[in-house]
Amino acid sequence: MSKYLLRFGVLGYLALILLVPVGFVFYRAFDQGFAHAWQAVTTPEALHALWLTLLIAAIAVPVNTVVGVILALALVRGTFVGRGLINAVVDLPLAISPVIVGLGLVLLYGRGGWLGGLADHGLTILFAVPGMVLATMFVSMPFVVREVVPVLREIGIEQEQAAETLGAAPFQVFRRITFPAIRGAVAYGVVLTTARAIGEFGAVSAVAGNVEGKTQTLPLYVKAQFDGFDTSGAYASSVVLAMIAIAVVVSLRFLQPKEH
């Protein structure tokens, strides 16, 4: 009896908080027909926002992947001063409000900021794509590191040592021994990084300014459409983002280690 109570309590909670809201996005987007929704997501502004979102992710995700693997190796295999500090800094983006991240970037690159002079030399960071990329890099930084670190710990170094003893060059060891072992974790981290990079709102919003049709990513476009009372446009674009999210969840399933 209590078993069923718990089961239906949990399922009811999940339905209320999660399933019904996500389903409702789809309902609202298509309640005026598919053609209407299609039209709303293929306007030049919406397409530009989608393109910009993908562009930013295409820069931030590879950089964070490479840096993430290097940092994970340094954290697990390295023995150097300041390792604890790096470990703490890697986790910081998870504990900091995205708005505060955006604010920090505005204060750093804005007028009177330490790097505010860059704008005078033709290097516009704020209210432009570079600032949005920096904000995205910040918030999506921890995921690859956090996925790879436990796997590196678990595989140990016996195989790497054996390869070294047999004369493998350092990079060869990485390419043939270490990387194949962490590949799954890297892929998992990349998917999480991509999801965050595509969906980020607060940090990007703070540095993007309000240059419509220029510095609007898809999440910012959703908000702008909603504020402009074009709710069908907002829902149609939300569906695009929700479908990306569902694709992310599905790929996480496939990438999950087998024993789960």
């Binding site: 718990l6 949990v10 399922l11 999940l14 908080i17 999660l18 809201p21 996500v22 409702f24 609202r28 840096v67 290097i70 940092l71 190796l73 340094a74 295999r77 390295g78 023995t79 150097f80 910081l92 998870l94 504990a95 900091i96 409000s97 995205p98 708005v99 505060i100 955006g102 604010l103 920090g104 204060l107 750093l108 900021g113 330490w114 920096l134 930084m141 710990r153 170094i157 790497e160 040592q161 070294e164 990079f171 270490t178 999801a195 595509i198 969906g199 709102f201 607060g202 919003s205 703070a206 999440p219 908000k223 907002a234 939300s238 983002l241 999210a245 992310v248 969840v249 996480l252 789960h260």
Partner: protein
């Protein structure tokens, strides 16, 4: 096991991940400093720019204080609900069996993948004015709490699930056969084993709830002194050109939430150590 590995790796000579990685490590550290640390340093610098008195004055403005209290109260409430609901969900997903369980398990990750603004938009449409169920919690604290519960849903579930999977059911069976009632078994056997995982999930949920912006900004209505949370207040100050005031509030908020995180982490380590002895 981890300590053995560290002991072994020193005499091992030059692996790419060690010596050859020196250059790569320097690059990664520089990246971390430039992308993460420098903006935060600028934030702190700007907050203390006019001395401590002006920092404190800006951080404790009545409107900022009201927002801070609301934020911390809601984050605490969100963490508490997650501790119970998240643990229950993890329990059902591990110990219970019903058709569609795999799907439910997969769906738990959705809040990590769904952009927060989309979550906020749909929650407002569903539980706002003119919603299909006739429930209207828009521009209320309940509404904000629901948005926070949406975005923080996976943390406790995903922290507790692996521990429950590992947990041996034999201990519980032994306790039950010795006459312990189900509630006693849970309190004496299951709960102490799950507590560290619950706490780490709760800490992450709390930190996320304190800083959440996208999911909250639409449903909260941002009424000063009533439904305006700190992240929205900071954003508003930034938009109206008061960067240093926003920085002051941010630094205070960061200090409090990092303090809470350290406190939970410390309690967790203390508990775990005592359990092992």
């Amino acid at each position: 096991m981890a300590t053995d590995v560290t002991a072994l790796e020193r005499p091992a000579g030059a692996g790419w991940s060690r010596a050859g990685g020196g250059l790569a490590r320097g690059f990664a550290t520089a990246y971390l400093s430039l992308v993460v640390l420098l903006p935060l340093a600028a934030l702190v610098w700007s907050a203390r720019g006019g001395g401590f008195a002006s920092f404190w004055h800006a951080a404790t403005e009545p409107e900022a204080m009201a927002a801070l209290k609301l934020t911390l109260g809601l984050a605490a409430a969100c963490a508490a609900v997650n501790a119970v609901a998240g643990t229950a969900a993890a329990w059902v997903l591990v110990r219970d069996n019903f058709p569609g369980k795999g799907l439910v398990d997969a769906v738990i990750d959705l809040p990590f993948a769904l952009p927060t603004i989309v979550a906020g938009l749909t929650l407002l449409a569903l539980y706002g004015p003119g919603g299909p169920f006739g429930i209207d919690v828009a521009f209320t604290r309940i509404g904000i709490l629901m948005a926070l519960l949406f975005v923080t849903l996976p943390f406790v579930v995903r922290a507790v699930q692996p521990v429950l999977l590992e947990l041996d059911a034999e201990m519980e069976e032994a306790a039950a056969s010795l006459g312990a009632r189900p509630i006693g078994v849970f309190r004496r056997i299951v709960f102490p084993n799950l507590l560290p995982a619950v706490l780490s999930g709760v800490a992450l949920a709390f930190a996320r709830a304190v800083g959440e912006f996208g999911a909250v900004v639409l449903i909260s209505g941002n009424i000063p002194f009533k439904t305006e949370v700190s992240s929205v207040y900071i954003f508003g100050q930034l938009q109206s050109g008061n960067g240093s005031g926003a920085a002051a509030v941010s630094v205070l908020l960061l200090a409090i939430s990092l303090g809470v995180l350290l406190g939970i982490g410390g309690f967790r380590r203390w508990r775990t150590r005592h359990d092992r002895v």
